[in-house]
């Protein structure tokens, strides 16, 4: 019995629950209800956009790993998340060829050039979207109305535009609650906002389901609740103060919370730990920075929506935050910095 060869490992010999892969898998699960809902509100085109986004991310990841001779990492689910989230940030009538470009850019430029999973400094899905927005600003701000009657029977022709060709729109382009506010000072009723009977990106329309998915992740300790809470709090406080100051000019915090991509950003994108600071203090400042920037861009900026830019800037700021808010090492004096 005792002649058995023993294995040797180094301490610690016990580890805490969640592994990276399990976390990633659960993020996908948490996103599925909101994704399904977007298919319900926008029909086939939403399904196609989401599918293309995920597929292009996976294919890009596979191809780049192969080309560079690295271990193929498509099975760690992170590319699936990137694809899903990219898809969720796009409008339903977005041409599929552009979606595919976005997926390629998200993984290639957003992740691979930095060294792959864990090394990227910017949120890959948002890098993809930022490039798409800068490249095709018209397509990415052409919105379909929700719940159109023929959404399950026909596909907008723009979705199937030929690769590299300009899409032709046969849909009536709607406005998002935010652009309606920015350009026409029209406030969408809160009920519609919360339950998704509005125009917008796939992931803008179901704030409640997204929040539910986020809460699930936070309860399972797979996403850092401090980030989400810090963002939402700063949005509520700042927009609340402005609203109290002048309710005519500044919309209510409720409108701010449930319009646009704030929920998706706060629950799923700002919480991507890869681009966020490591320390608790850093995380709280990061969240507050994002929240404040969202309000500032939405209210005073030229663009109707600022969540994407706010999160990317937060990502860019993260290393600095980690440096500035570096905790004092035990037993050293404050002054000693490195």
């Amino acid at each position: 019995m005792l002649n058995k060869t023993l294995h040797i490992s180094t301490s610690p010999h016990i580890v805490k629950g969640n592994s990276t892969q399990v976390i990633m898998k659960n993020v996908v699960y948490a996103l599925i209800p909101a994704a399904l809902f977007s298919v319900f509100t926008f029909g086939l085109s939403a399904l196609l956009v989401l599918g293309t986004a995920v597929a292009s991310c996976l294919i890009t990841e596979y191809a780049l790993c192969k080309v560079s001779g690295r271990k193929v990492t498509t099975s760690d689910y992170s590319a699936v998340i990137t694809g899903l989230l990219l898809g969720m940030t796009l409008p339903p009538a977005f041409p599929l060829w552009m979606v595919a470009c976005g997926g390629f850019i998200a993984i290639g430029l957003g992740k691979f050039v930095f060294g792959g999973l864990g090394y990227n400094v910017f949120n890959p899905a948002l890098v993809g979207r930022a490039v798409l927005q800068a490249a095709f600003p018209v397509a990415i701000t052409t919105w379909t109305d929700a719940l159109s009657a023929d959404r399950f029977t026909s596909i907008p022709s723009s979705v199937l535009a030929l690769p590299f060709m300009e899409p032709v729109y046969d849909i009536t382009s709607g406005a998002t609650p935010l652009s309606a506010f920015k350009f026409d000072h029209h406030i969408t009723p809160s009920f519609d906002l919360a339950f998704g009977m509005i125009g917008g990106s796939l992931g803008e329309t179901s704030s409640f389901l997204i929040l539910a998915g986020g809460v699930y992740l936070m309860i399972r300790k797979m996403a850092n609740w401090k980030i989400t809470v810090s963002i939402l709090t700063s949005v509520i406080v700042l927009s609340g103060a402005l609203h109290l100051f002048n309710a005519e000019l500044y919309p209510s915090p409720l409108f701010m919370l449930f319009s646009g991509g704030l929920m998706l950003g706060a629950c799923f994108m700002a919480t991507d730990m890869v681009g966020s600071p490591l320390t608790t203090k850093g995380i709280i400042v990061y969240g507050a920075f994002i929240g404040i920037l969202v309000v500032v861009i939405r209210i005073w900026g030229g663009l109707p929506e600022g969540v994407m830019y706010a999160i990317l800037l937060g990502n860019a700021l993260s290393p600095q935050l980690d440096q500035w808010l570096k905790p004092r090492v035990y037993g050293t004096s404050k002054k000693k910095k490195s």
């Binding site: 005792l2 023993l6 010999h13 016990i14 580890v15 592994s19 730990m273 608790t280 035990y330």
Partner: protein, 449 residues
């Protein structure tokens, strides 16, 4: 009876591993049988190994001196049993290095009475005499580090020991030796503390205990005479509260300076079992012969706390307690810091606080390693507020010197909290251990050059 002093303060960060203590914490200490042959390595403490003073074939009494200390940072070794020296040869130790050792064949029918030595009277002995007595008794830290206790107790002339901290924390999962010692060797503990206070000149002593051992805390509280300046403080359960720096912070609210020693903040920390051993041995002038070891883990049949003679081969121990068929790894020490055993021919030494046996399904080291996803869990865990995530990456890119310069690598005491929480299963502590040794080597190479 005094009110128990429940302390809310604790150190920053840290982790909460599952405790698994309920399997053994109610089991009284049982005497372990003598193995037919005891194998006693000379290198079982920090410092220079002891020098053998017996010959092959010589008969020895229990407690007789087998090896003498070879300097200030060294202690003697005494015979754990009456018997005959069969052989003197190199023996394996847990670190993998070989060490000179003594094979002692135990007399099967001996009464195993301990040979009387030079008793040390608490009332009359001077501080230096007590320190000498502690060294002569072969006492090293039983908390795990096996550092010669008398060295630690010697307060430098320019410093003052204001408080003696008795470490009854036992924060490692599974282990219950200190817990049982506090319950069952209470008198020895208190007696030992008296010696220690005299030796260090400390005006008071504080026994630190975690809240998961309230019975021990209450028991001690009841036992401590009113007129002794000994306090019991209960602190919240958190790993690695037992590390001396953390204990000092939890109880005294101060931090030991980086690179400094507890005495820099006026404290000396001694493990409770070490204290008990001092209290038990010094009045008789005995040398240390056995220690309490927790034997537990999913692979063990008769779990428990055993009083095991020094030098008992691990193979014999496991045979006696019975182990399951699919064992995979055996650890000496706790699961957070203990070392995996590669060779069952090593023996129980003074620093062995526990033996844990894991079956195939319990072993976690084969989890696949993923890249660091910067989740920050390790940063939130590190009790020293280091940045294990960054250091892990730096180690991967072999930037060892920068780890030391920019990230305070040398402060890391390898508690394993970071590895424990890492969802990507990165062997962070292993990296740091390696990096530290490389940095130290480079430093000494530079000094010599």
């Amino acid at each position: 009876m005094k009110m128990l002093n429940i302390h809310k303060d604790t150190f920053k960060h840290g982790v909460h591993p599952p405790e698994y203590k309920e399997e053994t914490n109610h089991l009284p200490i049982r005497q372990f049988d003598f193995a037919p042959v005891l194998i006693i390595p000379m290198a079982q403490h920090i410092g220079s190994p002891s020098e053998i003073v017996v010959r092959e074939g010589q008969e020895v009494e229990r407690g007789q001196l087998l090896a003498k200390s070879t300097g200030y940072v060294s202690v003697p070794i005494h015979a754990p049993a009456a018997g005959i020296i069969r052989k003197i040869a190199n023996v394996p130790t847990i670190s993998g290095k070989m060490s000179p050792g003594i094979f002692l064949e135990v007399f099967p029918f001996s009464g195993q009475e301990v040979a009387e030595g030079m008793p040390l009277d608490l009332e009359t002995a001077s501080a230096d005499e007590i320190l000498k007595g502690i060294q002569d008794a072969g006492i090293v830290g039983l908390g795990g580090a096996a550092f010669p206790t008398h060295v630690k107790l010697k307060v430098p002339d320019d410093k003052n020991c204001e408080v003696l901290l008795i470490n009854g924390i036992e924060c490692e999962p599974y282990l219950t030796t200190d817990h049982r010692v506090m319950l069952e060797q209470t008198e020895d503990v208190i007696h030992g503390i008296k010696y220690l206070m005299k030796a260090t000149g400390a005006p008071k002593a504080i026994i630190g205990i975690e809240a998961n051992k309230m019975d021990a805390a209450e028991h001690l509280e009841r036992f401590i005479p009113e007129d002794l300046p000994i306090e019991v403080k209960v602190v919240p359960v958190k790993y690695p509260q037992g590390a001396e720096k953390m204990l000092i912070t939890s109880i005294m609210g101060v931090e030991v300076p980086s690179g400094g020693l507890p005495i820099d903040v006026g404290a000396v920390v001694v493990n409770v079992a070490t204290a008990a051993e001092i209290g038990r041995l010094l009045p008789h002038g005995w040398g240390i012969q056995e220690r309490v070891v927790t034997i537990t883990g999913p692979g063990v049949k008769n779990k428990g706390n055993y009083l095991i003679p020094m030098g008992t081969p691990l193979r014999y121990v496991l045979d006696q307690v019975g182990i399951s068929d699919n064992i995979s790894e055996v650890y000496m020490g706790g699961p957070m810091m203990g070392m995996a055993v590669s060779n069952l021919d090593i023996s129980i030494v003074k620093g062995t606080s526990g033996i844990i046996v894991f079956n195939d399904e319990d072993v976690v080291s084969r989890n696949e390693e993923h890249p660091c996803i910067k989740c920050g869990a390790c940063v939130e865990a590190c009790p020293l507020s280091l940045n294990p995530s960054r250091m892990g990456l730096m180690a991967k890119f072999k930037a060892y010197d920068r780890m030391a310069e920019e990230q305070n690598l040398l402060d890391c005491f390898e508690c394993g909290s970071c590895s424990f929480v890492c969802p990507s299963h990165i062997p962070l502590v292993q990296y740091f251990r390696l990096s530290k040794s490389i940095v130290r080597k480079r430093k000494s190479a530079k000094q010599h050059a």
